[in-house]
């Protein structure tokens, strides 16, 4: 059915995951992503999949760990405090080099925070969260259609590299409704052959071992080095970003996810008044488009980063431009969303 329908972000990501071949879902409801879990509860039986509501996020992530050992497409979804609870399991899954997809529909924090949208889990998603040297591939969609399209990418990247992938959304993206076209169901034959390592029964072969553990420091270092070779390959091949009106721009706005949409409105407002502003929207937050942003920022007067946080991605933006131009920051937190109007005023103030 290539027909456009009206879908909430949470429902849309869940349906996209089903179409991407995910048949194993483990989760625990939490606002503002509960519709995701609810959708999977209804949908998985229709496709002979497994839906399991765990007793907590700690249990959910360990179910994902176990299921990922089979090499089948597996996922969970949660919101900020829930993802904090999952960190130990995420580190184990990354350490064991297992494909799995996580969706975090971010809400206000820290602690219990609130249930309004936020982007304050950037550090946690892109720079660890759990212990040890590991990375998640982090994808940040700006619209529901993009979230749908990126969901298959998320599963494919997880499969290809054997790394966990995070879809970083925010409450707004989870709750809003937009027209969406869903892709066809992915044919899984032959695309994720994990038979060389997956745990699927030992009939006629030696047992496989999936672990993040090695008591011998020499061998553990080798294991970590192997993993980091994969991370290097991802860094060189999997950068994703989008730009608007950058060519003739004097100033550059940087924002990810739904913030990119808001900054899009700011660019339009500014251009109407003759202020030449462009937009850079990172889509892969890890790997971050350092070189691409550096190139885009060349010759511009300044760069302003806008986030629903007190300033997290701004650190990667500073690393990108290496002091070549001033980097300003504007943020709101606690579930407050910057309006195009207030960002525009801030821009005008900075231009002076």
């Amino acid at each position: 059915m290539a027909e456009r329908i009206m879908v909430k972000g949470n429902e849309a990501m869940a349906e996209a995951a089903v179409r991407a071949g995910c048949r194993l879902y483990f989760g625990y409801p939490i606002t503002p992503q509960s519709e995701f879990t609810e959708y999977m509860a209804r949908r998985m039986p229709e496709v002979d999949g497994v839906f399991l509501q765990s007793e907590s996020e700690v249990a959910a992530v360990n179910m994902v760990y176990g299921a990922a050992c089979t090499g089948h497409r597996v996922m969970t979804s949660t919101s900020s405090p829930g993802f904090s609870l999952m960190q130990e399991g995420v580190s184990y899954i990354a350490g064991a080099m297992l494909p799995a997809v996580f969706v975090n529909v971010v809400r206000g924090g820290p602690g219990l925070g609130d249930i309004q949208p936020a982007q304050s889990d950037y550090f946690q998603s892109t720079k660890g969260g759990g212990h040890g040297d590991y990375h998640l591939i982090v994808l940040a969609p700006g619209s529901i259609q993009e979230a749908v399209d990126l969901m298959e990418t998320a599963f494919r990247l997880a499969d290809n590299y054997r790394v966990p992938v995070m879809m970083l959304a925010d409450g707004m993206l989870g709750q809003m409704m937009e027209p969406v076209v869903f892709p066809e169901y992915v044919k899984l034959d032959g695309i994720n052959d994990h038979s060389s390592w997956a745990l699927r029964g030992t009939d006629g072969r030696e047992p496989h071992k999936v672990t993040s553990f090695d008591i011998d420091p020499v061998r553990l270092e080798e294991m970590n080095t192997e993993t980091h070779k994969v991370y290097e390959e991802i860094r060189s091949k999997e950068i994703r970003f989008e730009t608007h009106d950058l060519e003739d721009a004097d100033y550059i706005l940087v924002g990810y996810g739904t913030m990119g949409r808001i900054l899009g409105s700011v660019v339009k407002m500014a251009r109407k008044q003759g202020i030449k502003v462009g937009l850079f929207r990172p889509i892969s937050l890890w790997p971050f488009p350092y070189d691409e942003l550096k190139k885009a920022a060349k010759g511009k007067r300044f760069c302003t980063v806008v986030e629903m946080s007190t300033g997290q991605m701004v650190e990667d933006v500073r690393l990108s431009v290496e002091g070549a131009l001033p980097v300003h920051f504007y943020g709101r937190t606690g579930g407050m969303v910057p309006t195009p109007d207030e960002v525009f005023k801030e821009l005008v103030r900075l231009i002076g």
């Binding site: 409450g171 409704m177 937009e178 195009p340």
Partner: protein, 222 residues
């Protein structure tokens, strides 16, 4: 559409458009000089709720009843008792914006003993371009299940066929045909077809209710 009863109830599946319609109908009634209390009994959705319009609707003389202060954003199923004051108050029309799907209908059922059928017009809002509404049979099963859970008698269907800004006259035609079939199947008449203002589409089969979108995203500048 002449809204004849004192209490107008908008229920339906999750994301069918109840809130926008409840807001617009309330606004329409005040334009005709009526006093309106709009009760937000949606305990399901965390965002995009009629309570978000409490301040801007006060200027139209519309009283939005919902948990106050910090409780407005609490993830708690709170039904303010003052609803019943307005239900009894002869000076007010009452519009009920019910939460979506089964859980929303159950909340309505908890109030049903105070909502006598003869004072109520209950509308079942439906958008065939939403998930799980792909066939008339599925839509009918949702209708009957929600009616039963709500313990209310549904009087009308509301055709809210839309795919947002991409709605065309073809979309509306398809939706009207779908809702007509549903109407025959469940033996409940269609009250009207909702059309977003600015689309300039004339529905063919049913009366039109033109509405304005109030629940805007931050990048949708009015």
């Amino acid at each position: 559409m002449n809204f004849t009863k004192k209490i107008l109830i908008f229920m339906g599946m999750f994301g069918s458009g109840k809130t926008e319609i409840a807001l617009n109908v309330s606004r329409l009634l005040t334009k005709n000089g009526e006093r309106v209390a709009l009760a937000d009994i949606d305990t399901i959705s965390p965002y995009y709720r009629s309570r978000d319009m409490r301040d801007s609707f006060a200027q139209f003389g519309i009283k939005i009843i919902a948990p106050k202060g910090k409780l407005a954003h609490a993830d708690l199923p709170i039904i303010p008792p003052e609803i019943f004051g307005y239900v009894e108050n002869p000076d007010f029309r009452v519009v009920l914006d019910v939460g979506g799907s089964d859980d929303g209908a159950v909340v309505l059922s908890s109030l049903s003993s105070r909502l006598p059928d003869e004072n109520c017009e209950t509308f079942y809002v439906l958008n065939p371009f939403r998930p799980f509404n792909d066939t008339v049979e599925n839509a009918a099963s949702h209708f009957f299940r929600l009616q039963e859970k709500s313990r209310m008698k549904i009087n009308y269907l509301v055709n809210n066929t839309n795919i947002g800004s991409e709605t065309t006259s073809e979309t509306i035609d398809k939706g009207e045909e779908f809702v007509k079939q549903l109407s025959e199947k469940v033996s409940v008449p269609v009250a009207f077809t909702v059309v977003m203002n600015g689309l300039n589409i004339e529905p063919r089969l049913f009366e039109q209710l033109e509405i304005k979108k109030y629940m805007l995203n931050p990048w949708e500048v009015e």
